[in-house]
């Protein structure tokens, strides 16, 4: 029978191989699902993995969707590593969109295009402000950041609704809940004409790199990581848990807010109640599949963007329900988590030889695996 025995040291090779393995398993399960649904697995897989790359416009759509995922995912990677579970990035995304919209609405057709910079900064600041509520409540009162940040997502959604229905509603919009279209100078510059991909992609890549540098090469980043991996060690080293909390929240909140600003001033061009697109939640998966590293998040953000667009194509070309994307994402995450165990354990095929010794209740009750303490606290 198959047995899992712990390794002496975690396998580095598996750490890199595991996401690939998870992807393979997911692809196989996807193919099986397509076959079950009476669709050709090849066609289904092609829609998911090949079609989204077909042509400049398609690539543009892929990067348009990947950019916010990458931004938020990098921030969350840092935050989760520090054991600060900022699950409410969606709320910070909305807050950033709101602040960015406020600035964008002040622009007219004659404003200089450099207004894009204050718009993006406003977005980042908005996200930071929203995240700081979570940080403050945890810092001062010890309230769980998971729950507070999550509740704040709902509050942010309602706030958005209130603003687009009331004070910020477009007076010429026939009373529909939306702001007026932002003036042309506010639009995020596009990268290539004919595709919707914009400078946001460059920003996202750059900031992901910066986040990686911060995490791996700076003292503060190191403190964050240690704080997450082993709080006693952090305390011993004199790293402030408080500082880690605030840094993690502000960074992930700021990046989420920036993503919100890009969405609103980019493809949307106005504020509507439909701004929350679920990026904050998908980014959690991005962070994990990217192994909680901003560089890994680059690959995983494109992968998840691929899944999303593939799901849309499967819907419009094969008439499959949209929820197929959620199923695939869930399968991917599960496969990843399962294959991650291979980093710390190895599979062995053991002939079932169990010595027929009289087993006391104690021995029978305790789990069969033995040996060393596993390094604790890894994601």
């Amino acid at each position: 029978m198959l047995e899992l025995t712990p390794r002496a040291t975690p396998s580095l090779r598996m750490a890199y191989l595991s996401p690939a393995l998870a992807l393979v398993v997911t692809v196989m399960l996807c193919a099986a699902l397509f076959a079950l649904l009476g669709q050709s697995p090849a066609r289904g897989l092609a829609l998911f993995f090949v079609e989204p790359f077909a042509g400049a416009r398609a690539l543009g759509e892929l990067s348009l969707k990947a950019a916010p995922l990458l931004l938020i995912g990098s921030g969350l990677a840092l935050s989760f590593r520090a054991n600060v579970w900022n699950v409410g990035a969606e709320g910070q995304f909305i807050a950033g969109a709101l602040c960015a919209a406020r600035v964008a609405l002040t622009a007219t057709d004659s404003t200089s295009p450099s207004i894009v910079i204050p718009i993006l900064c406003a977005g980042a600041l908005g996200g930071m402000a929203w995240a700081s509520v979570t940080a403050a409540l945890k810092d001062r009162f010890g309230a769980s950041e998971i729950l507070v940040s999550l509740m704040l997502v709902y509050v942010a959604e309602q706030l958005l609704g209130y603003l687009v229905f009331g004070p910020w509603r477009d007076p010429a919009g026939h009373n529909f809940p939306q702001t007026s279209l932002f003036a042309d100078p506010t639009r995020i510059p596009r990268l290539v004409s004919g595709s919707r991909a914009n400078v946001g992609l460059v920003l996202a890549l750059g900031l992901a790199g910066a986040a990686w540098l911060f995490s791996e090469r700076s003292r503060a980043g190191f403190a964050l990581q240690v704080g997450g991996a082993s709080p006693p060690a952090a305390r011993y080293a004199g790293y402030s848990a408080r500082r880690a909390l605030w840094l993690a929240c502000l960074i992930s909140g700021g990046l989420a807010g920036l993503a919100g600003a890009l969405e609103v001033a980019g493809p949307l061009g106005q504020l509507t109640p439909h701004v929350p697109a679920g990026y904050g939640f998908t980014a959690i998966i991005v962070a994990f599949v990217g192994r909680l590293s901003p560089l890994g998040a680059i690959l995983s953000s494109f992968l998840l963007s691929l899944f999303h667009i593939g799901g849309e194509l499967a819907q419009s070309r094969l008439a499959l329900p949209k929820s197929i994307t959620m199923v695939f994402q869930g399968l991917l995450l599960f496969s990843l988590l399962a294959s991650d165990t291979l980093i710390h354990r190895r599979i062995r095929w053991r002939r079932s030889v169990r010595a027929a010794t009289p087993s006391s209740a104690l021995a029978a009750a305790s789990a069969p695996t033995s040996s060393d303490e596993r390094p604790e606290g890894s994601p």
Partner: protein, 308 residues
């Protein structure tokens, strides 16, 4: 429209609205007392809702529907448990994956059921009690499951003081000690997770069979997450969980009630109330670290691997 009648109906509606939350929260309490945090509540509820609805559509028996819902929730919880308990994966991430998968599978498999309706169902009434003024509409016109939940909460409250309950609590506080004493920690944890999942699935089935008898994608609308919050701010005590769930139900119904009364606060601001209330209570609870530490299962979220 006497004021008292209005309040009585509001009470009744709050209890109905809070029951799904209470069920899910009680299930999560089982999990968390044993030291396992399962963020997959939303997914388990949705699967349970679909399973319950589909079963009742095909068999016509609500009882089978409830059983199916509980089974579906337990199954997803078992998958979660297999990874989080036996393979020591990160509990938060695994829970999130479960939530996602549960929601996706439910939405996907539920497509043929969106246009279905359940047959005519009698509104159960407790004989003459239902007509008692004021108390009748408030307390005695509910579906049997509502009363079952109250009994469950009481039962759990006492169960936690019995020997099996103390073992579970011991595992939640210090699995190493329990292991040293010879208890099969992982098996007990797995059982608690499965039981918790069953209750979450049952909560979902309540939504799709009793509360709004239909199936639609995403119909739990965040109740799973609220249930998680509820468990924390009720400090893992079943009776407080019940109270908290009904209070949350009350705040939800209140904002709709206020609208109907013509209160001129914008409806979106009123809609924020339940969530702001949750944050407020979280803060109040966490403010007393002693209070929190007294009941927070010390090993919550940490993997346990019986070792040296």
């Amino acid at each position: 429209m006497a004021g008292l009648d209005s309040i009585a109906s509001l009470c009744g509606a709050s209890i109905d609205a809070g029951t799904a939350l209470a069920l899910a929260s009680l299930g999560l309490t089982c999990n968390e007392r044993a030291g396992v945090i399962n963020l997959g509540a939303e997914g388990m509820m949705l699967l349970g809702a679909l399973a319950g609805f589909a079963t009742t559509v095909h068999t016509g028996a609500s009882l089978l529907g409830f059983a199916a819902g509980a089974l579906a929730g337990a199954t997803l919880a078992a998958v979660f448990g297999a990874l989080a308990i036996w393979l020591d994966t990160n509990q938060y991430a695994t829970g999130l994956a479960a939530s996602l998968l549960g929601a996706g599978v439910a939405a996907f498999a539920g497509v043929p059921y969106t246009r279905e309706a359940l047959g005519e169902r009698a509104t159960p009434a407790l004989g003459g009690l239902a007509d008692v003024p004021v108390l009748g509409p408030a307390l005695f016109r509910h579906h049997p499951l509502v009363y079952g939940v109250v009994l469950l909460a009481v039962a759990l409250h006492y169960l936690l003081e019995t020997r099996p309950g103390l073992i579970v609590r011991g595992i939640g506080e210090s699995p190493e000690t329990a292991h040293a004493l010879g208890y099969p920690v992982r098996r007990i944890r797995f059982a608690c997770v499965a039981a918790g999942g069953a209750l979450c699935g049952l909560a979902g089935a309540y939504l799709s069979l009793v509360y709004t008898p239909l199936w639609v994608e995403g119909m739990t609308a965040g109740k799973g997450w609220i249930a998680l919050a509820l468990t924390t701010f009720a400090t893992w005590r079943p009776l407080l969980v019940l109270l908290g769930a009904y209070s949350f139900g009350a705040v939800t119904m209140l904002q709709l009630h206020l609208q109907g009364e013509g209160v001129s606060v914008p409806s979106q601001l009123l809609s924020m109330l339940p969530y702001l209330a949750t944050i407020l209570v979280l803060v109040l609870i966490s403010r007393g670290p002693a209070l929190r530490r007294a009941t927070l299962p010390a090993s919550l979220g940490k993997p346990f691997n019986p070792g040296a």
